[in-house]
């Protein structure tokens, strides 16, 4: 009985939780945190149980009819292995982050903890809703919730946060408008808003001019929202100046969810037939992704601040996923989805480590990182583990998704798409640049401040730096996620099984009818 309600519960729990937290912030602030954790934990449990259910009944998706109206008349949720996996990842990541950042929230948002947690839950609701929904317009509404709460969370930061968030607000609104316009064009052509229903109609009408315009508008909108280079300019400033609990929430979540939306639009709404119908466009997208990877890796080299460097790496990772999705083969698509999972975990580790450092250090400029290894050894140890995963060293998870992406690139190259080889080249180049980036940080944090002369025995005299670790809750959450990077890597084959159960039916035209029947019942 209740198992049928998981898709709704996983949205409703954080939503109602946000309202209760908002009330509690006026009654007694000390209950806000507990309530926020409880509601998000309920959502996480629902999403994990939902994943188990979906995997059990694959390839048939779970369809939840909101308001009891049959699709396409009402709004319905559509859950297959693909989005069930993303749901579980996003809810776990945000729950761990919430449990971890409490001390940082108290420090950075004094007096406004209640509204911070309420906005946090709303942001999570928006992102989860975007992933779970099977309705193109409902996705837009949740995009608004996610964006609005994100602007508020990012805007309340240091120095230039408000200005850079205003910039984000403009770009985000433009991106969302493009998406909405695209949905409008789709409605003109099909008269429906249900994703699977649209796909069914499009297979009959084919790729008319209106459909192609809708497709390009939707893709441009989503690419702006996920900050694919060269439409990335809003992201580095907005994330760098934000407070550390806000950026460690938004960074692992937003770009990944937008990549999921891109994949969902490519596979479910427009179907591979139309999406990959124009080889020059596919090729261009792979080139664009390659440019994003290389360009952002180079921009990261120029950064003199740890958090800014991380934001550029984050955008480079967006290039990995977009490129993998547009390679047009199963391996590349699997790699892209696997990278959504892994990159969410890796980004969380990096930004939590940055949050720990920001808690104790004056700033995250490279000059202020000197002696960080002596000062906060545990934080730096987990930071190293995260960096190793970002570079892509086995057995951490970063290696495996890059492996799939490389394989996909080679396959695409062998199939006659030159961009596939370019994509592989830029992937390897960016991994090498990651090595330089992270070892530069290690060098500064480990070896500096430099020794001042030598003592009687010829040993270098190094200034003594007392250990001053971040609060245990922060480091504990960081440790948990850092260990998860290795665990995710070791369980890659299981995750890939789930992803393939989700992706293969969407790429296989013979199974389209099964899905269509499951959703619309006719």
């Amino acid at each position: 009985m209740i198992s049928q309600q998981y898709p709704a519960l996983l949205i409703i729990a954080p939503l109602l939780g946000a309202f209760v937290v908002a009330v509690l912030s006026w009654v007694d602030k000390k209950y806000c945190f507990g309530m926020a954790v409880a509601s998000l934990a309920a959502a996480t449990v629902s999403s994990i149980l939902l994943l188990i259910d979906v995997v059990a009944q694959a390839p048939e998706p779970i369809v939840y009819k909101l308001g009891g109206w049959d699709p396409p008349f009402g709004i319905s949720y559509y859950v297959d292995s693909l989005n069930a996996l993303v749901l579980a990842v996003i809810s776990c990541v945000t729950l761990v982050n919430l449990g971890t950042v409490r001390t940082a929230v108290n420090k950075e948002h004094p007096g406004k903890e209640g509204s911070f947690y309420a906005l946090y839950l709303l942001a999570v609701t928006g992102h989860l809703g975007m992933v779970v929904t099977g309705d193109a317009f409902n996705l837009y509404v949740l995009l608004e919730i996610a964006a609005l709460s994100g602007y508020a969370l990012l805007g309340m930061g240091h120095r230039r946060a408000a200005f850079s968030t205003l910039n984000y607000l403009f770009m985000g609104t433009i991106g969302a408008s493009f998406y909405l316009l695209g949905v409008g064009y789709l409605y003109i052509q099909t008269g429906s808003l249900n994703m699977v229903d649209i796909a069914g109609i499009l297979t009959q009408t084919g790729a008319t001019m209106t459909v192609l315009t809708a497709m390009s508008l939707i893709f441009i909108g989503v690419l702006i929202k996920m900050a694919l280079f060269p439409m990335h300019a809003w992201l580095p400033n907005a994330y760098t100046h934000a407070s550390s609990p806000a950026s460690s929430l938004i960074a692992p979540m937003t770009t990944k969810v937008m990549v999921y939306v891109l994949i969902r639009m490519m596979l479910t709404v427009f179907t591979p037939d139309i999406t990959f119908s124009m080889p020059p466009v596919t090729e261009t997208m792979v080139w664009l992704a390659s440019a994003a990877i290389v360009g952002c890796a180079l921009l990261a080299l120029s950064a003199r601040n740890l958090k800014r460097m991380l934001t550029y790496i984050l955008i480079a990772e967006v290039g990995y996923m977009v490129g993998g999705a547009w390679l047009g083969n199963t391996t590349g698509m699997t790699g892209a989805v696997l990278h959504i999972v892994n990159d969410a975990a890796m980004t969380l580790v990096m930004f939590l480590a940055a949050a720990c450092m920001a808690y104790r250090l004056k700033s995250l400029d490279f000059d202020d990182l000197k002696g960080a290894f002596s000062k906060m050894p545990f934080t730096m140890a987990f930071f190293v583990l995260g960096a190793v995963a970002m570079i892509g060293v086995p057995p951490t998870c970063g290696f495996f998704s890059k492996w799939y992406l490389l394989l996909g690139g080679v396959q695409a190259g062998n199939a006659g798409m030159f961009g596939g080889y370019v994509f592989c080249g830029s992937l390897i180049l960016s991994s090498l640049i990651n090595v330089v980036l992270f070892f530069r940080v290690f060098e500064i944090a480990h070896f500096e401040p430099l020794a001042q002369g030598v003592d009687d025995h010829g040993h270098p005299i190094r200034p003594k730096i007392p250990m001053e670790e971040a609060p245990p809750t922060l480091v504990g959450g960081l440790a948990l996620t850092a260990v998860a990077l290795v665990v995710l890597g070791l369980f890659t084959s299981d995750i890939v099984d789930v992803i393939e159960a989700g992706v293969l039916p969407l790429l296989d035209p013979s199974l389209t009818d099964t899905i269509f029947l499951a959703v619309t019942g006719s």
Binding site: Q5, A8, I12, L15, L16, F19, A22, V23, W26, Y64, K65, L66, G67, G68, W69, P72, F73, G74, I75, G111, K112, S115, F116, A118, L119, L122, T125, G129, D135, F137, N138, V141, L142, E144, I145, L148, S149, Y151, A152, L153, G155, M156, A162, Y185, Y187, I188, Q189, T190, G191, S192, I201, T208, M209, T210, T213
Partner: protein, 278 residues
């Protein structure tokens, strides 16, 4: 760079205009949005399924009620975001100065150490600051108009599912009536009638009413927002329960929209201090 941007805009705009040629004809009854089973279903079955004569409201608050709940949540988020970003707590003196204006001459009097004059005084009126002008004509006219505006707003809310109107429109009109009070008098007058905490509770109560109705449907064995499930609870037929459910959620929407309008105005006009308006 600017020329490039203009060229890009023109190119994109031109492309969009060009695609219009591919659209179905204007007002074509056989175009996909008109001909597809979706709109046919709404036009033919709305009354039987929801007992709501206004199809737009039925689609908005019932068939696609989930979207509307999140639209309300967007408004709630906007208010909460304004609170989070703008609200500041300055040090407030325990006995603030009070400024009064002599109504006949327009001369301002500042009373120090929290001293006050009688609120019933017919010669002096309390104002927020020396800059603020107390205008007898404006304030009287607005005071006369506000009750009627509010009555009309309530009518718009209550009649949403029968005639044009609904929670969003009614909520905006209701909010506007309070803003008129704040503009024609001052923020203090509004604040005394409607303190910040009460507005916040109203804001949350509205969206909780909406999502609570949805959640109650789940508890009574339906899907989320499946109003039919509340039929036995309210003692009406399942079809009638749709109509009543829509009324409830419209009221919730109106509460949230109204509170959001007032809160955003107050935060911006008082620069986040919530003490002194424009």
């Amino acid at each position: 760079m600017k020329i490039l941007a203009i060229a890009l805009c023109l190119l994109l705009g031109g492309a969009l205009v060009f695609v219009v040629g591919d659209f179905p004809d204007w007002g074509d009854p056989m175009s996909p949005p008109n001909d597809y089973r979706l709109s046919k279903h709404f036009i033919e079955n709305t009354m039987e399924e929801t007992s709501v004569p206004n199809i737009v409201t039925a689609v908005l608050a019932d068939y696609r009620g989930f979207d509307t709940m999140f639209e309300t949540a967007v408004i709630f988020t906007a208010a909460l975001a304004c609170f989070f970003l703008l609200r500041t707590w300055g040090r407030r003196p325990s006995k603030p100065d009070n400024v009064y204006m002599h109504l006949l001459t327009g001369v301002h009097v500042r009373l120090k150490h929290g001293k006050t004059l009688s609120p019933q005084s017919r010669t002096f009126a309390r104002v927020e600051s020396e800059i603020l002008r107390y205008d007898l004509v404006t304030s009287t006219v607005c005071r006369l108009m506000i009750p009627f505006i509010q009555l009309f707003a309530l009518y718009v809310v209550a009649h949403g599912h029968h005639s044009p109107g609904g929670g969003f429109q009614g909520g905006v009109i209701l909010g506007a009536s309070f803003l008129l009070l704040a503009i024609s008098h001052d923020l203090r007058t509004l604040r005394e009638r409607f303190p910040e905490v009460k507005l916040m509770y109203l804001l949350i109560a509205g969206i909780v009413l909406y999502s609570g109705v949805g959640f109650a449907c789940m508890i009574y064995g339906g899907n989320f927002l499946e109003y039919e499930a509340l039929g036995p609870l309210m003692g009406v037929t399942p079809v009638m329960a749709h109509s009543l459910g829509i009324l409830f959620v419209e009221i919730g929407v109106a509460m949230t929209v109204m509170a959001t309008m007032i809160l955003i105005y107050n935060y911006i006009s008082s620069l986040g201090t919530y003490e002194r308006g424009l």
